[in-house]
Symmetry: C2
Subunit: 71 residues, 2 copies
């Protein structure tokens, strides 16, 4: 997978929404520690979190994964 | 997540391509046993497999996840 594209997009979407890692972790029902691991690519984010975030940020999962430049 | 949509689409794409679970497992570099668990929803498929399959079947990840009816 394009791991670098994916983690950059994850961080950019969060920062564009003016959210902290803790706030996004709460949206996902996970800890800040675990979310931080997803955002730096230490752990791969599960698909159900991918879906939750694509809805929250109103972007496609293809955009979030760096497969499509259109939101 | 729409688990039922996702696993039905996973199976339909495989059957439309006339592939066995063993063949798709080989594409993913995993075992038939593990792939079968993804297809029946016993385990959630990792994101890197989602990306591999969306490329292989030439569909969007949104389509594969049941979030978009357009391929």
């Amino acid at each position: 997978m394009e791991k670098m594209a994916y983690i950059r997009i994850l961080r950019d979407l969060r920062e564009d929404a003016d959210l902290t890692q803790t706030q996004v972790a709460e949206i996902l029902g996970t800890s800040q520690t675990m979310y931080a691991r997803y955002e730096r690519g230490a752990n791969e984010m599960p698909i159900h979190h991918l879906i939750t975030l694509s809805r929250y940020y109103q972007v496609s999962t293809d955009y979030l994964l760096g497969l499509d430049t259109n939101r």
